[in-house]
């Protein structure tokens, strides 16, 4: 029996009533968020939710590619695509048509099964990660009690298809590119998951909605402030590690055109290459969404008086802000060499995240149950101290390196300088 759509009292109530109406539509019971008794009702509601997720994510990904080309173009003092449609807005569709109509050149030497499966299997982990992304209080597809762990676990399964693609291509360079990519992805997994343990300590839960509730004025759990203020080091490490996980510049050595042709997707043409591209942008958006949930308070507004604006607008704005940060990094920084990349993960990010974790654990016990302002103050002091220690260590390392260079390079540089001065005078 259909229930009439309840009148919304304010704009913020629309999402609650919409999700309740959708569920009530398929289970035939009173509209309650998430209540669905029959198996058929669950299956139909799941298919509907999955279709909505795939559609929203697909459109989001298409315009993320448009946005990337325009933003990076502007950062490089040029316009970006502006021929296809107004401001180039139809460019992603033109790209999609191009990829679908290109010939699918499969190398004769390739191992057919592994080659094709690699291209197919790289997309599902990217889509499944969206199951735990919370758009609003009731607009989360599956509020799993282990949401954060689920997201990172599914991200880890994306490693196998990369290696399948490189190995199945039966091409030396594709194989080497795939091995480098796998080494990079697994090395940066560790700082990525270690950096958020501090956040989990403070929130006490792994579920996405629980993490959001412990961060804002509309919540009642421990700190009540956004975790970026309490864990800025964790946030920076999460950003850098995620940039490396999704193989974007400055960590894109496995797929850089000038370095290794195209790495593990050298031998793919047309739509199969498009699938790798698709998976890359899906993970960019979902990782930005999870970063917004973990550190920026998800669908919570920054101040309680702004609660009139619906949560999904806040969530979208925060996700787009993080996507912009990823594009900003791409437009600004040069690429790291592969040994610099691995050294950065193991020798810099892992020790920093371990120290951050220990300090956070200590502080969380010391200020348990105090007022949010005092918690914020204590964490700020600790974070400033850690950053100062880090800067001191980096300065010492640079002095050490400079001291080593003086014995080799200084006499030669001084001789050249003296010769130039004699010549000019």
């Amino acid at each position: 029996m259909l229930h009439a759509l309840p009148l919304a009292e304010s704009l913020a109530e629309t999402t609650t009533s919409l999700s309740g109406w959708l569920t009530g539509l398929f289970s035939g019971t009173a509209p309650e968020p998430g209540a669905s008794s029959s198996a058929a009702g669950i299956i139909v509601a799941s298919i509907l939710k999955a279709t909505v997720i795939v559609l929203i994510v697909q459109i989001g990904m298409l315009y993320a590619t448009w946005g990337e080309r325009k933003i990076i173009g502007r950062m490089q003092d040029r316009l970006g695509p502006n021929r296809v449609g107004l401001f180039g807005l139809a460019q992603p569709f033109a790209d999609m048509i191009k990829m679908l109509t290109k010939e699918d050149i499969t190398p004769t030497a390739a191992h057919k099964w592994v080659y094709n499966l690699g291209a197919i299997l790289v997309v599902p982990p990217a889509i499944i990660g969206f199951a735990v992304v919370a758009l609003d209080r009731n607009l989360i597809a599956a509020d799993l009690s282990i949401g954060a762990l689920f997201f990172f676990a599914i991200g880890s399964t994306a490693v196998m298809p990369i290696f399948m693609a490189g190995w199945g291509s039966r091409n030396k360079y594709a194989l080497l590119g795939a091995m480098r990519a796998v080494a990079q992805v697994v090395s940066y997994e560790i700082p990525q998951v270690l950096s958020i343990v501090g956040v989990l300590l403070l929130a006490g839960t792994l579920s996405m909605n629980g993490l959001i509730h412990s961060q804002g004025p509309i919540g009642d759990a421990f700190p009540g402030v956004w975790f970026i203020l309490l864990q800025p080091i964790g946030f920076v490490i999460f950003l850098l590690a995620t940039t490396a996980e999704i193989e974007r510049t400055p960590f894109d050595i496995p797929e850089a055109e000038s370095e290794i042709i195209a790495g593990y997707h050298t031998e793919y043409a047309g739509i199969k290459f498009g699938l790798f591209y698709l998976a890359l942008y899906f993970v960019t958006i979902s990782a930005s969404a999870v970063g917004a949930i973990l550190f920026l308070g998800g669908w919570q507004p920054p101040f309680a008086f702004l609660a009139g604006i619906p949560g999904w607008i806040w969530m979208t704005a925060k996700t787009l802000a993080l996507v912009f940060v990823f594009m900003w990094l791409r437009g600004t920084l040069p690429r790291l060499r592969v040994d610099q990349l691995m050294a950065f993960a193991w020798k810099v990010l892992v020790p920093i995240s371990l120290v951050n974790l220990m300090v956070t654990g200590l502080l969380a016990k010391l200020v348990a149950g105090r007022a949010p302002l005092m918690v914020f103050g204590a964490f700020t002091v600790a974070n400033v101290a850690m950053v100062a220690l880090l800067i001191w260590l980096v300065a010492g390392w640079r002095r050490f390196n400079a001291a080593r260079q003086i014995t080799f390079e200084r006499p030669a540089v001084q001789a050249v300088g003296a010769a130039l001065r004699r010549g000019a005078a």
């Binding site: 998430g34 669950i42 299956i43 509601a45 799941s46 939710k49 999955a50 279709t51 795939v54 679908l100 109509t101 290109k102 010939e103 699918d104 050149i105 190398p107 004769t108 030497a109 291209a119 197919i120 790289v122 997309v123 599902p124 889509i127 499944i128 199951a131 597809a141 599956a142 509020d143 799993l144 190995w167 039966r170 091409n171 030396k172 360079y173 194989l175 080497l176 091995m179 080494a183 697994v186 997994e189 560790i190 998951v193 270690l194 343990v197 421990f222 042709i261 050298t266 047309g270 739509i271 592969v338 691995m342 193991w346 892992v350 020790p351 974790l357 220990m358 654990g361 969380a364 016990k365």
Partner: protein, 118 residues
């Protein structure tokens, strides 16, 4: 609760069909003109030298090994972090000792050169 996991299962099935749909669309729309040189393995325009499945460096194995160690450490860290607020102060020191033991392992691997790229 169970319906959440049912949703994940259904999403997995739908997510698997998306790339297959894409490939089917390309099979219909794209031209097919295979040629011997077009389908040969790419090596910057030259003839390929030797078999493609080359022997690879042991360094990759070492990175994977250290990753497994730290991943298992993470598996122990997550339940500790979630239950942290109801644990006594002693639990913190126990975990710090655990992290220090693994940190000493990382320093050992560093000094032995297991983390060098070459």
């Amino acid at each position: 609760m169970g319906e959440n996991w049912a949703f994940v299962a259904i999403l997995t099935v739908i997510a698997l069909t998306i790339p297959i749909l894409g490939i089917l669309a390309a099979m219909v729309l794209a031209p097919k003109r295979p040629g011997a040189i077009k389908n040969s393995t790419y090596e910057c325009g030259l003839e390929t030298v030797g078999d493609a499945w080359v022997q690879f460096k042991v360094q990759y194995y070492l990175y994977a090994l250290i990753f497994v160690l730290f991943d298992v450490e993470t598996v122990f860290l997550y339940p500790w972090a979630v239950a942290y607020q109801s644990l006594p102060l002693l639990a913190l020191f126990e975990m710090i000792i655990f992290l220090l033991i693994l940190g000493i392992g990382l320093v050992y691997a560093w000094r032995k050169g297991a983390l060098e790229w070459i």
